[in-house]
């Protein structure tokens, strides 16, 4: 499937901004199962400085600064992505990966081999997932049992979050602590992803945060509107002997071609799409528009 994606972030500044420094984690990944065919980043006004580098987690981050006075900032990422999830290892084709139990997984993770060391960092607490209280652990232990395959358990966890939590964009923001989300059982995709990650880490397994896009399909017979798509987030769990498996608790599905991956991190903090420091005295308004459609 060949997609074209445009992701527009605009800021309107009430009093104007004398200059700003920004970081965008916005370039889709070029990995097995997802080929980045074309990519362009347009920034208005044109930045004075612009550079790209790879961060600690292997994501491409773009740094730019604008050093002239401006009242509006627009960051538009255009990309063309060839998505074919069948190219990547498929958990449904791995009988052993589906069978590995929690006990087996925990033992396998004690290994000091470089690839295991690398995933073990995702067992630890992180900045936004700084506390695994007993409530989170209890919620996780409903699904995760010592003799039960962890894939099955994670699948069930995803399902339970989908059923127990209400999608509601007006309850939380990026700074809402996970225990509060846990208590309210309401939130958006990044909250659900982070709840799942906290649960999985609380029982000692590695889980990471995935930032990306999801293609939404119009109701049958209707044409798709521009900009109805959104940035999306889900989680990924490491299954020893197999590898990382993605789960989308917001939609209760294992991502296939409709999910486009931009970045991996420990949680949202590591991979916010656009962040920055501005020098201004007034308020600002932000607007995000994402449009994903089949490329022609």
């Amino acid at each position: 499937m060949l997609y074209q994606v445009s992701h527009t972030t605009s800021y309107d500044y009430e009093d104007g901004v004398s200059f700003c420094h920004n970081i965008a984690t916005i370039k889709p990944k070029d990995i097995l199962g997802q080929t980045l065919v074309d990519y362009r980043l347009d920034i208005h006004p044109a930045p004075t400085e612009f550079s790209e580098r790879t961060d600690f987690f292997g994501n491409t981050i773009t740094r730019f600064s604008i050093q002239e006075h401006h009242k509006k900032l627009q960051v538009i990422a255009f990309s063309k992505i060839l998505r074919d999830y069948t190219q990547a290892p498929n958990i449904f084709e791995s009988a052993s990966g589906q069978k590995i139990t929690l006990n087996e997984a925990l033992t396998a993770l004690k290994n000091q081999k470089p690839d295991i060391l690398d995933v073990r960092q995702f067992i630890l607490k992180s900045i936004l997932i700084a506390e695994f209280n007993s409530e989170i652990r209890d919620y996780a232990e409903v699904s995760f049992k010592p003799q039960r395959p962890i894939f099955e358990a994670a699948n069930e966890l995803m399902q339970r979050i989908f059923n127990d939590f209400e999608f509601n964009p007006n309850v939380t923001n990026v700074a809402t602590p996970i225990y509060e989300v846990m208590a309210k059982k309401k939130g958006v995709c990044q909250d659900f992803a982070q709840i799942a990650i906290a649960c999985i880490r609380s029982i000692g397994l590695p889980a990471r945060y995935v930032s990306g896009y999801i293609e939404t399909l119009p109701p049958p017979g209707k044409e798709k509107l521009v900009g109805v798509d959104a940035s999306h987030a889900w989680f990924s769990m490491y299954i020893p002997t197999f590898g990382w498996v993605d789960f989308d608790p917001t939609n209760n599905q294992i991502p296939k071609n409709q999910h486009i991956i931009v970045a991996y991190g420990r949680d949202y903090y590591d991979v916010p799409p656009v962040k920055g420091v501005i020098y201004s005295s007034g308020q600002n308004k932000m607007k995000v528009e994402v449009d994903i459609r089949a490329a022609v």
Partner: protein, 853 residues
């Protein structure tokens, strides 16, 4: 001469037995301390008491302070120095401590390089990954950054204490922005000054050479611009606990003391905002912790750092001392692995022993800790403050269980240590010596081929006799730390620079704009304080006279004066607006509030407290004399408040004292700061404020037309508060007339206190301000003050005296004073806009208030 142990060691061991530095258990004396104890004996107990007082006084006078956060009385708490130093002999120092510190500094340097580089220690199983990855100080943003300096770890500090085996042990490593060097230096100076006798016959090593090397390290750290690098000292600001030291080092080393908003990142480089332009910075000696250094990449809510700084570091356009991310080494989780690390890198064992420690991330160790919790001290690997150290022997069962659960939930975050009883050393308390626990902070500086160690350091003393632990963040008592040699040592020098320093005295163009702003406001607050104090004093004196005369015109004129107070201080409604009738019945109540109440905007107390704030922000510029005088003001004030007598006479006496000291202080400012250091800004602020206040006085006293007798009293009051009555008598030798008063205090071109003269002077000073980069050729502030000057020149006495139709007021006088006052206000605003920081309010693009701490 034998040591008189009877006097000094009375009760030394009475209730507290422990390993002691001086006295052995058989009551014999450690020979290394003998000479010092003889010197102390010679001085005698009485004399020593007096000397201790003198040291305390000197510390207070010199403004050596240590702020304690979250403690209302903790601001600017005086630093305590006990007159009995801590002694270590050269052979022990050189053979183990110095060698051990050099080894450990080098080792931690290699660890730091490895953690943010190849991570071989983890890959090869020398340290568990979690010790690093679960530590909050491991900043992924700093991964793989390369530095141009010879070492990654440029400053290192270790807390040492003597263990029961008689060896010095390492208790804590400090690597982000270790404090204490400045205090150590000041301790040495103070002891030298107050107790020169105590050094008699003892060769104490001096830190002069070390500070020289420190300076050289900063110069060498510059990645570019090697011949004349620009070095700044970055402080979190006057509220920080060790702000005294930041200012002290800035003035000792001769580098500007800056705050985050003095600096800015542009075009891939770091710049300091100065009055004239942006000036590139090559080296930052920071006293701000890692995560606060860059709000773009690190802690978003930080106003202490500079947005975009890390990228400048990555591109090797600036060096931060120590590098951002070095906090990962402040890590008690490393302790159990240090010997293995030492063998891995250096193929040798650690020279300095450490406290036995168990990292709970390992199963065997964790089980040991859980089973023996009661006998251990538990810490989080990434927090070394008191709140996060658990002395388990003092915990009850509930607290122990809670801790156990916390450990089991995230074991890799905890380390347990053996509880150790460290040695005591004598402290001079109430005329005798008392054993107290001590902790020695030592310092290392990177050189091209190794590390150089400060001979001595800072010794901290437990606050009470029975206290087992010495805490570093809490102020308390300190000691001078002597490394004693058999060889003769040079006397300590005030400034010990060799020819290595390339530091060039900069001119006003390079003045950090934050400093300039604080100087400007210091001037304004001082001007306001002085004018207000004099005015209150005049009114109080009038009130005093009235008690005896009770003439009708006097009480009428007093009411006018009360009303003018409200106008002058802008403390409405006061004596003019709503409720004024009640207040006029008991005017002293309102006046007392306007003097003493620091919550009341416009009051004298509030003006002084605003001045206090700008003053502390500038302390690296002030001289010791200024500290003394300023402190005198505060003490007068406190004494007065303690006494609580708010009578007219007492209030006026207080004002007398405050005014004298304010004037002395202002004289000292002019004496001790150079124009290019920013005195000009201070003058502009001072003159502008005084002039605006004078205009306010004239507007409220001269505009209305009074009958003759009342007029006389008003004019006399005005001249008194203006300190111009004598000059008037000298110049006019006549009865007070409105015409002559206006001529003298408004129009006279040669009289220093006249409006005309003051405006001319402000104009001259404003014209000297540098032309700011990017500003219009004639800047706005110069334009405004020129307009005010022209206005003053065109005034005529006839025009000013002219009465309106019903002969009640002098409209022309009021109009012109109002216009000039407005122009002064606009000049002041224009100076702010052009030269200060207001246009750069840093904000997050979207508010992401993460709980990072």
């Amino acid at each position: 001469m034998p040591v008189d142990t009877n006097t000094f060691f009375q009760n030394y061991f009475s209730s507290f037995r422990n390993y002691d530095e001086v006295l052995k258990s058989d009551m014999s004396i450690n020979p290394n301390w003998e000479k010092l104890l003889q010197n102390l004996s010679k001085m005698g107990s009485e004399n020593l008491l007096a000397k201790q007082k003198e040291v305390d006084w000197l510390m207070e006078e010199n403004g050596v302070t240590y702020n304690v956060y979250n403690d209302p009385n903790g601001m600017h708490r005086s630093w305590g120095l006990n007159i009995v130093p801590f002694v270590i002999y050269e052979n022990e120092w050189e053979s183990t401590i110095e060698r051990g510190l050099k080894q450990r500094a080098e080792l931690l340097n290699l660890v730091l390089k490895d953690i943010y580089g190849k991570r071989e220690l983890i890959a090869n199983g020398i340290i568990p990954q979690e010790v690093i990855f679960a530590h909050r100080g491991f900043l992924r943003q700093c991964d793989q950054i390369e530095y141009a300096t010879s070492k990654n770890l440029l400053v290192y500090s270790a807390d040492l204490a003597r263990g029961p085996d008689g060896r010095m042990w390492v208790v804590t490593d400090r690597t982000q922005a270790p404090s204490g060097m400045g205090y150590a230096l000041e301790n040495r100076y103070a002891l030298n000054r107050v107790l020169p006798n105590i050094f008699e016959g003892i060769n104490v090593k001096q830190p002069s050479q070390f500070f020289n090397e420190f300076n050289q390290m900063l110069l060498d750290a510059a990645p570019k611009n090697k011949s004349n690098p620009n070095i700044v000292i970055l402080t979190p600001g006057p509220l920080n606990e060790t702000y005294f030291e930041h200012a002290y080092l800035a003035s000792f080393l001769g580098y500007p003391l800056v705050m985050g908003n003095d600096l800015v990142v542009r075009h891939g480089k770091l710049w300091m905002k100065t009055l004239k332009e942006l000036k590139q910075v090559d080296v930052v000696l920071r006293r701000v912790d890692d995560v606060f250094m860059d709000p773009l990449e690190l802690r978003e809510d930080s106003y202490l750092g500079v947005a975009g700084l890390l990228e400048v570091v990555r591109n090797q356009e600036v060096t931060i001392v120590n590098p951002i991310g070095s906090g990962i080494i402040d890590n008690s989780g490393l302790i159990p692995f240090m010997n293995a690390i030492c063998n891995y890198f250096l193929n040798e064992d650690l020279i300095l022993p450490q406290i036995a420690s168990w990292w709970c991330g390992q199963i065997v160790e964790r089980n040991y800790v859980i089973n023996n919790l009661k006998d251990l001290v538990v810490k989080r690997i990434d927090r070394s403050n008191r709140e996060n150290i658990f002395f388990c022997e003092f915990l009850d069962d509930e607290a122990l269980n809670k801790l156990k659960n916390e450990i089991l939930l995230a074991p890799y975050q905890f380390v347990a240590q053996e509880k150790i009883s460290f040695s005591t050393a004598p402290n001079f308390v109430n005329g005798t010596l008392e054993p107290r626990k001590v902790m020695c902070r030592t310092f290392a500086i990177a050189k091209k081929d190794g590390y150089s160690i400060m001979p001595g350091g800072l010794v901290r003393v437990a606050s009470e006799r029975e206290t087992l632990f010495v805490f570093n963040q809490r102020g308390g008592i300190s000691k001078d730390f002597w490394v004693v040699s058999d060889q003769f040592q040079n006397h300590i020098q005030n400034y010990a620079w060799g020819n290595t320093s390339n530091y060039k005295v900069s001119d006003m163009n390079d003045l950090p704009s934050n400093t300039a702003e604080n100087l400007f406001w210091s001037g304004r607050y001082l001007g306001r304080a002085l004018v207000t104090a004099r005015y209150f004093r005049m009114v109080l004196n009038r009130m005093n006279q009235q008690q005896y005369h009770n003439a009708k015109s006097e009480s009428e004129s007093l009411i006018l004066l009360y009303k003018s107070i409200t106008n002058l201080t802008s403390t409405f409604p006061g004596f003019v607006g709503k409720g004024s009738k009640t207040r006029l019945k008991d005017p002293l109540k309102e006046i007392t509030a306007l003097i003493m109440d620091d919550d009341r905007i416009g009051s004298l107390a509030q003006t002084l407290s605003s001045f206090n704030n700008s003053y502390y922000s500038l302390r690296s510029l002030w001289s010791k004399d200024m500290w003394r005088v300023f402190d005198g003001i505060k003490r007068q004030w406190e004494k007065f408040e303690d006494k609580g007598d708010y009578s007219v006479t007492e209030l006026s006496k207080l004002l007398d004292r405050i005014i004298t000291r304010l004037i002395a202080f202002m004289g000292l400012i002019e004496d001790s700061i150079l124009v290019h250091q920013g005195l000009l800004l201070y003058f502009i602020g001072l003159q502008t404020e005084q002039t605006m206040m004078n205009i306010a006085k004239c507007r409220s006293l001269l505009v209305i037309n009074y009958e003759e007798h009342l007029q006389y009293e008003i004019l006399e009051s005005l001249l008194t508060s203006h300190e111009s009555l004598n000059i008037y008598r000298y110049s006019y030798r006549s009865y007070l007339s409105l015409e002559n008063v206006i001529k003298l205090i408004i129009l006279d071109k040669d009289y220093g206190k006249s409006l005309s003269y003051q405006i001319r002077r402000i104009q001259k000073d404003v014209d000297k301000l540098p032309i700011s980069e990017g500003a219009a050729v004639i800047s706005k502030c110069k334009e405004k003050i020129a307009l005010a000057h022209t206005k003053m020149q065109n005034l005529t006495i006839e025009n000013l005296l002219e009465l309106n139709e019903d002969a009640t007021i002098r409209q022309n006088l009021d109009d012109v004073l109002a216009e000039v006052s407005e122009l002064l206000h606009e000049t002041s605003m224009a100076i702010s806009d052009t030269y200060f920081n207001h246009s750069y309010m840093q904000k997050q693009l979207s508010n992401q208030n993460f709980p990072l701490s």
